[in-house]
Structure formats: structure tokens, C-alpha cells
Symmetry: C2
Subunit: 182 residues, 2 copies
């Protein structure tokens, strides 16, 4: 880790692993695969905050959870490694991060549109009705929109990548002088 | 244009402009903005092939059409320019194409999941019921999954980008010898 913002990225990827494993994957994997405590937690959350998507599991929503299982999840470990080592040592992470973050930002757009604009009154499961309820529910998803957006902008524009082979001055500053390169 | 595959990319972006303008945008813009002929065509297509998404316009589907209007559409012209000039002269197109194509591939995943897995029997509009009908409807969307996927793989792995400053041998082969660089 070599930048303050890497703390955010490490927290994001690190927390995403248990959240995906115990909660998100319930949308695509059979219930018996999860401890009862986590199944009950999702039921409580869906009821309390009106997340009809996690209950009704419409095909379009399930498609994102499927991608999370097969594409995102293995990548979490790669990203954790890269941001832990520092991007100046892992410049190869740039393109995977651009693909990953664009994918996640894109998948959050229909979810946020759905939360704010869908008419939940005809749904079999409780959904948000007032604007405040919609805002509250969106709060659970919003971090998965905003952090990937920051990841994307960082990967597109950070000097470590943009200046090609040479390390950015910001990175060099953190290095002890005279340290040998391997 | 300097590669055979650029014909595919130029056809893709070139055809996408009128298709977006006359058909796709009907999902997000008011009907009076479109000539009656095109409104009727969409109505006929939606009825004939059971595209309930273009009729019911669920929020999640509309979100992609909104992105098409504000993000994709302006980019079509940029991409046309780059692939017309040739990627060896427009290496700056690489990252925009990676973002664009990841965005579009991602947005097609829920659409294809919806077509193949959604239960349309409870919908207000006619949807596909048999597997053949689902396959037929998916045929209209599939090009917008597969071409962006090829665009993505090309942008990630083509030697013109991967070999950095130097042009790939494949590209050089097409150039007449002794041609001056500007």
C-alpha cells in the first residue's frame, strides 16, 4: 500500500469478499449452502428496507449476482494483492481494474434506476414506496457505484499509469532513498 | 482503416447511429420526437417478436437506453473516426474502447438473462414463451453483446497496443514500403 486512497480500495475489496460470500450469492445459489443466520439476515434486511430484488430475484438482477460469483469474486483477491503491494509495483492491474470497475458501475446503474423509478406497488414483495425509503435502500448499493467509479477514474488518470514506465513523484516520495530495486 | 476487422467495427458503429436515433431512443424519449414510420416499426417489431422490454420499458432497461443516449451515442462518432483512421494512428482509442465495450457487454448480460429466463406470462405485453421465440428475440440483441466483446478483446490484446510505441508486424505489412510518416 502506498497511497491513502489504497486504504479505501483495500477496505472495499476486503469487505466485498465476506459480503458476497454470505449475502449477495444467496441470490444465485441454493439456500442450504448458507448458514441459517445469514439467510435470516438477508430476509430481515429485505423486509426491513424493502429490497424486493433480493426476494423476487428478477432475471436481470440475478445476472449481476452471477457475474459477481464467476467474474468479480476471483478478481477481489487479485485486486487486494495489487493494491496491497502498491500500484507502482503492479501496473498490470490498470486494465483489469478498468474492466472490473466499468462492469460494476454499469451494473449499478439499472439497480439504482430500479430503486428510484420502479413501481413496487404491484410486486409480490415489499419494496420502497416513498422517496426516503428509496433513498435509504439505495444507500446499501451506492458504495458499489461510487467506489468502482473512483477506482475507474484512478486507473484512467493516475500519474503512475499515465506517465508510463516512470514512477510518479507522489509515489517516489514515499520510498526510502537508496532502496534497491529487484 | 487498416485491418479487416475494422470493417466489422465501422459497420457496428456506423449502423448503431441510425438504429439508436430512430429506434432505441424511443424507450427514453417522448413518442412525438420520432417519425410515425419508426414508432410503428418499433410497435410492429415488439409485437411480432415479443420484445416486452421495448413496450413495458422497465426502469432497469430504460437505464441502459439512457446511457446509450448520453454516453454511447456521442462516442459512436469518436470510435468511427478512430477505426477509420486506423488504430495504429489512434492508439488513444484503447482505453475509451475498453470502457465502452465493457459497459455495453455488461448491459447486454441482464437483457439476455431476461430474454431467456424471465417469465413473460404475467407481463402486460407479449413476450417470448418458447425457447425458439426467446432465441429469435435474443438475435436482435446478440450482435450488441458479441461485437463489443470482440472490441474489448481487440483493445486488450492487439499487438498495436500491447507493443507500446512500436507498430505491430501485422500492421506494418499492410503499409507500402517507404511511405512517409507524418
Amino acid at each position: 500500500m502506498e497511497r491513502i486512497i489504497d486504504i479505501l480500495f483495500l477496505l472495499y475489496f476486503g469487505s466485498h469478499i465476506p459480503i458476497a460470500l454470505f449475502f449477495d450469492f444467496q441470490a444465485v445459489l441454493p439456500g442450504w449452502m448458507f448458514p441459517k443466520l445469514f439467510v435470516d439476515t438477508v430476509d430481515w434486511y429485505a423486509e426491513e428496507f424493502g429490497d424486493a430484488m433480493m426476494k423476487a430475484k428478477p432475471a436481470w438482477f440475478k445476472s449481476f449476482c452471477t457475474c459477481e460469483l464467476f467474474l468479480q469474486f476471483p478478481f477481489f483477491f487479485v485486486a487486494l494483492y495489487a493494491y496491497w503491494k502498491g500500484i507502482s509495483k503492479c501496473r498490470w492491474i490498470r486494465l483489469p481494474i478498468i474492466v472490473y470497475s466499468t462492469h460494476v458501475v454499469t451494473s449499478l446503474i439499472p439497480i439504482l434506476f430500479h430503486i428510484f423509478l420502479h413501481d413496487f406497488t404491484l410486486e409480490s414483495y415489499k419494496g420502497p414506496r416513498t422517496f426516503t425509503e428509496r433513498l435509504q435502500l439505495s444507500g446499501f448499493y451506492f458504495p458499489y457505484f461510487i467506489v468502482p467509479l473512483v477506482l475507474l477514474l484512478d486507473a484512467l488518470f493516475h500519474p503512475v499509469y499515465v506517465n508510463g514506465g516512470s514512477e510518479s513523484t507522489r509515489t517516489v516520495k514515499h520510498k526510502p532513498k537508496g532502496r534497491k530495486h529487484h
